[in-house]
Symmetry: C2
Subunit: 354 residues, 2 copies
């Protein structure tokens, strides 16, 4: 299988990320020396994508901890770790992965503190190992998502030789540790020779589709066509698209899904064009603490993302803008199901598999 | 009433148009000396909008005819006029206005040729006057469209104090001789103090909404918010939009409407969000020669419109694009009606008012 792009490079306490702001013009890796670097890179969207945000956050803490002389006590170590994690969680509000990763790490800290047979140096090593494991875990999850998703879509379209899939935003190697979620499913379909064409939306205003997804698709020679967000319905009608597959920044307990702005309308349009609508997300994107999508905080982004492309003004001076980064797709529109590393579930059937 | 922007200036054989490619950075008028200049300006989208295309085409021919020494015979004059008009019709394929204007002018030529009491110089003058009248006629039509549309929307929302309207692309002073079609209706609602807010879509890939409509709305201090095309459904839901009003490049006899790409999906989304969907268009945009939207030619535009903003590359090199300039909205989705200078009609009720 062809190597996918690797946007997060980590080895022995050295972390580098691909600066996605410079794509597609330039492929430049920048070093992340500490949690503060990671926080800034996430906020500025040099790295984005719910899984990738959590991984870069966790790895940046691993980098810091490796350099750190072990504190006097495990309590002090855990207080420090929690403080850093709390800060990382504030970098962007909508994706839940960093928050869930932080909660898991804090739980580990508590266990290690309670375990009298572990000393502070060993505790620090365990925390570092736990944080470092997020990278490999995510790739394994994504490959499982790809397999589960592709086989579900093939099963539901058994009479069709090849499938036409639409996707939104970037959910590929650049949004994850590698392989991708929704784009992982598309990769698996392509590997199985079942992909006719993937239609990727531009994904305004930040162009994650045209800059990042298109970059991955060209790189891997997957048959692909770029469309503007305004062309989604026309494309569904003209090309008879079989399924829409998107990622998730946070899935609520009932299956309501927050994802990149524009996802909700793709779900409405998919329904009216008889295309299945799937969300592909690891369980680390599912927030069982909130009952439904109404409680998901939606980040509002700067207006300049809409009014300028680089230094070029593309909107009239003085115009008011509305720039939510995400929207919520109600569970009932997720007609295909939610594709996870544990299988494909109906939106209301997630909890038993937690 | 506040003066609207004037994008087409014509007086005594002198024609100037606002170069819309330079908006919003710069307001620059360029002279149009002849039909060839007009053809190029239309093709390059220095002027766009179905009514404006026809007006600039007609006026450019008036400019040429005024300079021309009258030919020897009326037949020769008419042959020349027809040749020029045929060329103008080829500038862009989807809008029908230039074609209908050309047909009307050719009919006038035939009448003048058949009328033995008219000499060639008088015929030339009559043709010039006919062509010059398109400017004032269009403004009058647009003001009537504005009045009819606003009163219909107010009537259908009688219980609401102020209305929230969404529009797509640019259908204002910049797309017409002045005032506008869909934007004319919005202007009339604003004048009647019934407009709460207009949401204008960016209208990718050419950004007619963010560059042109936003420019007009800011200029006239109409309360407005710019949204990306991907935000339409989220905005309809969040702001409870009452109606979507768009223009038309060509309306078929059954009411199917070709308009800027993205219109079709707004109509689907309006239906699922209980917003009325209106098309605002003069009868000069209605093509009774074609029974339905299947026969409307859809222009495909260059991929560079999607891959670059000015010199900045916004899409990965090598990605395939689909860039239709227009799509067709089926008549049944035009739930509000078609707003014309003669009144607001159900899509299937246009023919009797022809």
């Amino acid at each position: 299988m062809m190597e996918t792009i690797q946007a997060i490079k980590y080895k022995d306490g050295q972390l580098e990320i691909l600066d996605q702001l410079l794509l597609p013009e330039s492929c430049t890796f920048i070093p992340i020396w500490n949690v503060e670097d990671a926080w800034a890179a996430i906020r500025e969207m040099k790295v984005r994508g719910a899984p990738a945000i959590a991984i870069v956050g966790c790895l940046s803490l691993a980098v810091e901890l490796r350099e750190l002389a072990a504190p006097e006590t495990k309590e002090e170590l855990c207080r420090l770790v929690k403080e850093k994690l709390d800060h990382l969680v504030t970098s962007r509000p909508t994706a839940v992965n960093m928050q869930l990763a932080a909660e898991a790490c804090v739980k580990l800290c508590t266990r290690l503190t309670d375990n009298t047979s572990v000393n502070v140096a060993e505790a620090k090593d365990d925390i570092v190992k736990h944080l470092e494991a997020t990278l490999a875990d995510d790739i394994a999850d994504n490959r499982a998502i790809g397999e589960h998703g592709a086989s579900d879509i093939m099963k539901k379209n058994a009479t069709k030789d090849k499938l036409r899939i639409m996707t939104h935003c970037n959910t590929g190697s650049l949004a994850t540790a590698g392989y991708g979620t929704a784009l992982g499913v598309i990769r698996s379909l392509h590997t199985a020779s079942k992909l006719d064409q993937v239609y990727c939306t531009e994904t305004r205003p930040y162009n994650q589709g045209s800059r990042l997804t298109a970059f991955e698709l060209v790189y891997e020679k997957i048959p692909a066509t770029l469309v503007c967000d305004s062309m989604a319905a026309a494309a569904m009608k003209q090309f008879k698209i079989d399924a829409v597959i998107v990622g998730a920044d946070r899935v609520a307990a009932n299956g309501d899904t927050a994802n990149k702005i524009g996802t909700y309308q793709l779900a409405v349009l998919a329904k009216s064009h008889d295309a299945l609508f799937y969300v592909a997300a690891p369980f680390s994107s599912i927030d069982f603490q909130i009952p439904n999508g109404h409680s998901i905080p939606i980040e509002e982004r700067p207006h300049s993302e809409m009014t300028h492309t680089g230094s070029i003004r593309t909107a009239a001076a003085g115009i008011n803008c509305w720039n939510p980064g995400f929207d919520v797709t109600p569970a009932e529109l997720i007609t295909g199901g939610i594709i996870t590393e544990k299988g494909v579930f109906k939106p209301d059937q997630l909890a038993p598999h937690q």
